[in-house]
């Protein structure tokens, strides 16, 4: 146990190291900008469900083109960029050295922005590869691979030069993210191009599932493992438990892609394998979540004042819930009701917004004042941003679950005409739209607060000079 505690605190700051954090800064600032811009698109497509004629005569703004922009923009423009920025902050500190190359990091951030802007043009123009999460056309895919290699070189360069021999959990998760993403991304964007039909779908779902499971999950957990102990000033509860969580994730996650095709035209035995491993996912999830809750034991009162901690611990609860839903959906009987319904976007948003974006927002609130060596522009506004995103998020998730379940129930009764099941969902989509507006207001407060902090700090620095 003693060693565990020591490992948890492995990153005693070394007075000698002064971090420039330039790459982290640029990744975070651009990520927040995309969070805001893509948020507008999100509200627009939610509105189209309430008013289907909205912007209906403009091909570039039709639902089929805005939806992939929303998904890719949030996943890669906001979340992955924020995750990379925060990694550039925590990794050097955990290793006790400077980032291997700030210049390379800045170049990566610049390239990432080129990719996202290219994605906007391509997707609005309808230049879409037709595979979920892999919509971006090939030239952009190649740039993503180059950017990822640049990111990976920086990560492993920093780890190789580390001062502390023992690596804290977050470092394993970051390494896992870099490696697994490489394989998962190549499968989903390149290997698929050589296949057709069910074979292609199988590779596509392997990618879609693991984009969440082996990209956003490990990097999200790397953040949570770093920021929960930091923000609460409490050592991690158990090193051993974190090992169980990590290594079972490494083994179990990749098997489950075919659960996206349950009851569909894909081999039954593959469906059964996917179900079995989907249920086993409960192990890594509970190991991780127990560890976080045990860390917070006796510290919960801190949640009242501490905005990053609010985001972190609500993120943990959403993570637990999403990862409980996932295995349940993969059971054939439950799947027959919820699959293909509006329940699924409810589930997906709880994972990507509720869990992983909460971790990234918490990290940003924690990191930005430290990078700029100043105080957050407004604690009160930060608290408001939490409640707006939280309330909007809950409204969004819960109405879609209820609505989706009801919809699935109706679909299973073929005497109900399909269009009646569409009309029945309209109140649900209206609530979803207004919940989206709340979330967006929260995003604006978050973005404004961070930008005001950054700009204010620059102003101060100029006055001193």
């Amino acid at each position: 146990m003693h060693a565990d505690r020591a490992a948890a605190r492995a990153e005693t700051p070394s007075a000698a190291t002064v971090h420039s954090d330039a790459a982290a800064k640029w990744f975070l600032i651009s990520a927040i900008s995309y969070f805001f811009i893509v948020g507008i698109i999100a509200i627009t497509i939610a509105a189209k469900f309430v008013w289907p004629e909205l912007l209906g005569t403009v091909p570039y703004l039709s639902y089929g083109r805005l939806r992939p922009l929303h998904v890719n923009g949030m996943l890669f423009g906001w979340l992955l960029a924020a995750d990379m920025g925060l990694t550039f902050y925590l990794l050097p500190r955990l290793c006790g050295v400077k980032l291997w190359s700030e210049k390379l990091g800045l170049a990566t951030a610049a390239l990432w922005n080129v990719i996202i802007l290219g994605a906007v043009v391509a997707l609005l123009g309808g230049w879409n590869q037709g595979l979920e999460y892999a919509e971006l056309p090939l030239p952009l895919d190649i740039l993503v691979v180059i950017a990822w290699v640049m990111f990976g070189v920086n990560v492993f360069g920093t780890i190789a030069s580390r001062k502390y021999e023992q690596m804290y959990v977050s470092i394993w998760y970051v390494m896992g993210t870099v490696l697994w993403t490489a394989f998962v991304y190549l499968t989903g964007n390149f290997a698929v191009l050589f296949t057709t039909g069910v074979n292609q779908a199988n590779l596509n779902w392997m990618y879609v599932h693991n984009a969440v499971g082996l990209i956003f999950t490990p990097v999200g957990l790397a953040l949570a493992y770093y920021f929960i102990p930091k923000a609460s000033n409490t050592p991690l509860y158990s090193h051993k438990l974190s090992m169980i969580g990590f290594w079972s994730l490494a083994f179990v996650y990749v098997w489950t892609g075919a659960h996206h095709m349950l009851h569909g035209p894909i081999s039954q035995w593959l469906q059964t394998i996917a179900i079995t491993f989907s249920v086993m996912l409960l192990i890594p999830v509970w190991a991780v979540v127990y560890n976080f809750f045990a860390t917070m034991k006796g510290q919960w009162h801190q949640l009242r004042e501490n905005v990053p901690l609010k985001f972190l611990m609500s993120g943990v609860v959403f993570y637990l819930l999403t990862c409980f839903q996932g295995p349940m959906h993969s059971l054939r009987s439950v799947n027959a009701i919820v699959s293909k319904t509006d329940w699924i976007p409810g589930h997906a948003h709880m994972a990507v917004l509720g869990a992983f974006s909460f971790f990234a927002i918490a990290g940003t609130y924690y990191v930005i004042p430290r990078i700029y060596r100043t105080k957050l522009h407004s604690e009160a506004l930060a608290n408001w941003s939490f409640w707006f995103i939280m309330m909007g998020g809950l409204g969004f998730f819960v109405t879609l679950w209820l609505g989706g379940f009801w919809q699935g129930w109706q679909w299973n009764n073929p005497s109900i005409p399909f269009i009646d099941t569409v009309v029945a969902l309209k109140p649900v989509w209206t609530v979803r739209f207004f919940s989206g507006v709340l979330i967006f207001c929260g995003i604006v407060m978050f973005g404004y607060n961070i930008m005001a902090t950054a700009i204010g700090a620059r102003g101060e620095a100029r006055q001193e000079a």
Partner: protein, 189 residues
């Protein structure tokens, strides 16, 4: 043993990749080798074994229509799979006849695949032959003219572009037609 991964980055990398690749390879590379129906186009001449028919490759025009289907993101709202659920075979059915369930050998020429994940609109895996060209034109101009309460977006730029419109409809009419399952009251006859 995994303690070693705490201090050795090389060991951690090898273990993380090794564990990942076991499942990765077994679930992606192996299944198409084991299940041949993923790659063999559907063909059956024996009514005792279920619906007869033969899957044929898409024509130039149908491929063009398919590209429009991909470009406009129809697949975000429409699935193309009649699953092994009773309700699916009824909903994809036609005038009281249940549709056959979808099998992998019906999709061999599909690239990109269009199975889909979300049914905002109905499944389209058996929509071929259900409606005539005039119906589709009116529907693309404004779905609510035909189906009040629909949330499908209007696609005037397709309805008004003759070659795109014809191509898209030609593609839609192929869907689910490899299997001869409809009783002989298709609109075409």
């Amino acid at each position: 043993m995994l303690r070693k991964a705490d201090n050795s980055a090389t060991f951690a990398v090898a273990a993380a990749l090794g564990l990942f690749l076991i499942g990765g390879l077994l679930t992606t590379v192996v299944p198409p080798l084991v299940d041949k129906s993923w790659a063999k186009p559907f063909e059956n001449h024996d009514p005792a074994k279920g619906p007869t028919g033969k899957l044929r490759p898409y024509t130039e025009q149908e491929l063009h229509g398919r590209a429009i289907y991909v470009r406009e993101g129809c697949w975000y709202c429409h699935t193309q799979q009649t699953r092994t659920l009773l309700a699916d075979t009824k909903r994809s059915g036609w005038r009281g006849v249940d549709s056959p369930i979808s099998t992998p050998d019906e999709f061999v020429y599909d690239n990109p695949h269009m199975f889909g994940t979300k049914r905002t609109g109905p499944d389209l895996s058996r929509v071929g032959g259900k409606y005539d060209t005039q119906w589709h034109r009116t529907h693309f101009r404004n779905p609510r003219d035909l189906v009040p309460g629909s949330v499908m977006p209007p696609f005037p730029w397709i309805a008004n572009n003759e070659s795109e419109f014809q191509a898209l409809v030609a593609y839609l009419q192929t869907l689910g037609r490899a299997k001869n399952w409809r009783p002989d009251n298709d609109y075409e006859r």
